[in-house]
């Protein structure tokens, strides 16, 4: 269970006149995410959704409020304890290429959390890496390659396998499919859904695309300027969105078919 209680995060930025400004990246967000369900978070760029992900992972400290993992406030955890918590809550970063150490083979990247967070011997590690590599459909030949020898989709799959290799209870995907080709995007999304069906980790899927969010989860959050403006349970279609801002987002989606143009001409 991940709980956020009135969490705010402020950044200090300098504006053009070099005077300091405080910017609320996340403003008084309260959330409760349980490890059995999957969630999706929608917002445009600059809405603070990435900051929220970083806060949950303990990479950044909130200015106000508490973040609790299983009832323990992460601000009060020692760095070692927080580190070991990563075995339960993992994250997949936005840009797969830069998220992989360029000098480590795909195998080593996937094995890293196992080495750091669990006490598994070499053969156990090996079987685990291969197990997850198979799940994300990477061949053993591809496991030997370095990141730059893999395609964008393959890199992404390495990242997903890495996040899952310690069998976490919860995975945060931060814009995991933006910038990918549509076919690759579909492939990755289906992969994640399949994995969830197999019972490996529930997730929070952060995206700017309502289509993707709807595709991925039933529990949707809509975020705007650091606050959560709408929370929908069991969302199935656009009709479930009621907040004005959510409607705006839906309005700005590209059409599903060109036929609407014919209609507007005929009218």
């Amino acid at each position: 269970m991940i709980e956020l209680k009135q969490v705010s995060k402020q950044y200090r930025v300098k504006d053009r006149q070099r005077s300091k400004l405080k910017v609320n990246a996340v403003h008084q967000v309260s959330l409760a995410l349980c490890y059995q369900k999957s969630y999706a978070l929608v917002g445009e760029s600059g809405s603070g959704k990435s900051t929220l992900a970083r806060l949950i992972m303990g990479i950044e400290k909130p200015t106000n409020g508490e973040i609790c993992l299983d009832g323990r406030n992460i601000a009060l955890m020692r760095s070692r304890e927080l580190r070991l918590k990563r075995a339960e809550v993992q994250m997949v970063l936005q840009n797969a290429q830069s998220a992989l150490d360029p000098r480590l083979s795909a195998y080593d990247s996937i094995a890293e959390p196992i080495r750091c967070l669990t006490k598994t011997d070499k053969s156990g590690e090996r079987s685990k890496v291969f197990e997850f590599a198979e799940k994300v459909r990477l061949t053993s030949e591809q496991l030997r390659r370095l990141p730059h020898e893999l395609s964008g989709g393959q890199q992404k799959r390495v990242c997903i396998a890495r996040a899952m290799s310690v069998s976490p209870k919860f995975i945060v995907f931060d814009e995991a499919v933006s910038g990918l080709d549509v076919t690759v995007r579909k492939e990755i999304l289906d992969l994640i859904l399949q994995l969830k069906k197999d019972g490996i980790g529930a997730f929070l899927f952060i995206t700017h695309d309502i289509d993707v969010a709807l595709y991925m989860a039933d529990q949707l959050f809509v975020m705007k300027d650091g606050s959560i403006v709408e929370w929908i349970e069991n969302a199935a279609s656009y009709d479930d969105f009621h907040h004005e801002y959510s409607r705006q987002l839906i309005q700005s989606l590209p059409p599903k078919s060109p036929n609407y143009r014919k209609e507007s001409v005929n009218r």
């Binding site: 992972m57 990479i59 580190r83 070991l84 990563r86 075995a87 993992q90 994250m91 970063l93 840009n95 830069s98 998220a99 992989l100 150490d101 360029p102 000098r103 890293e112 959390p113 750091c116 967070l117 990242c159 890495r162 996040a163 310690v166």
Partner: protein, 274 residues
């Protein structure tokens, strides 16, 4: 990486030169035809002959033997100093970049002070303190160059730390030590190696420059810069005595520079895509 290196002509020429000079430095006492310090006043300024392949100098010493021995002085100082500097630079640079905050600022101001301090003064004072000789040159070079090394490592490490994969490693549960040893250092190492390689070249030139000014080695030491210095009084009548030692410095430095630059071309992406 290594395969690419073997393919590059430039790197291979550089490496050959380095190996050649290293071998000479190691085996100089065995291959030198004469005792490099044997003074023979009767045979001064002899031109090249089968007995003295490169002739003799102003004191009748065999030039070739002295040049061969000279290699061990240059490399003997440059390489160990560099190892020390490399370790110091890597530790201080990565550590301060990783810790950040106040440490980083203190580290940077100390670096600034040492970088602003003319190396020549450090060398001279240390020689004054410890007397002429290898140790003081070694210390002096280390003392005057460490800040450059540390700061270069720091700037590389800083760049690396801001990248996503370090964050990903943290999320993967790596400890700080593991991030530094397993991620940061291996990733900055190629760049660092380039800097080291060109650094050796600079250092060899620097050392011979000092001994050219009469600093560091006692008179009569068969070091290239010192030989040049001794030969300068007879420069107009016997320019070849000046020519040889300088050529040796050039060849050694060029070896390291060629190798280092070939390495740099390899790791910087814009050079690769034609």
């Amino acid at each position: 990486m290594i395969k690419k290196l073997l393919k590059s002509k430039q790197a291979m020429i550089g490496l050959t030169l380095i190996v050649l000079v290293t071998l000479v430095a190691l085996w100089a006492p065995l291959i030198a035809p004469h005792d490099p310090n044997k003074i023979d006043v009767l045979n001064r300024f002899m031109s090249a002959s089968s007995q003295y392949p490169l002739g003799t100098d102003q004191l009748g010493r065999c030039v070739l033997s002295r040049l061969l021995i000279g290699a061990s002085y240059s490399l003997g100082i440059a390489v160990p100093t560099l190892l020390v500097l490399g370790i110091v630079g890597l530790t201080l640079g990565t550590a301060s970049a990783y810790v950040g905050m106040r440490w980083e600022r203190v580290f940077l101001s100390i670096c600034d002070i040492f970088m602003a301090f003319p190396a020549l003064v450090i060398v001279l004072s240390l020689i004054g303190a410890l007397g002429q000789g290898l140790l003081s040159i070694l210390l002096a070079v280390a003392f005057s160059l460490w800040a450059w090394f540390a700061k270069v490592v720091w700037s590389y490490a800083r760049m690396e730390i801001s990248k996503d994969y370090i964050l990903a490693a943290k999320i993967a549960g790596c400890s700080d030590r593991r991030i530094i040893l397993y991620h940061i250092i291996p990733n900055i190492f190629p760049q660092f190696l380039v800097y080291l390689s060109t650094g050796i070249a600079g250092m060899i030139i620097m050392i011979s420059g000092f001994s050219f000014l009469g600093l560091g080695f006692e008179a009569g030491t068969p070091e290239w810069g010192a030989m040049l210095n001794e030969a300068r009084s007879n420069f107009y009548s016997h320019p070849e005595l000046v020519f040889y030692p300088g050529l040796c410095v050039l060849i050694t430095a060029a070896g390291f520079n060629l190798f280092g630059e070939a390495l740099r071309d390899m790791i910087s992406p814009e050079e690769v895509n034609e």
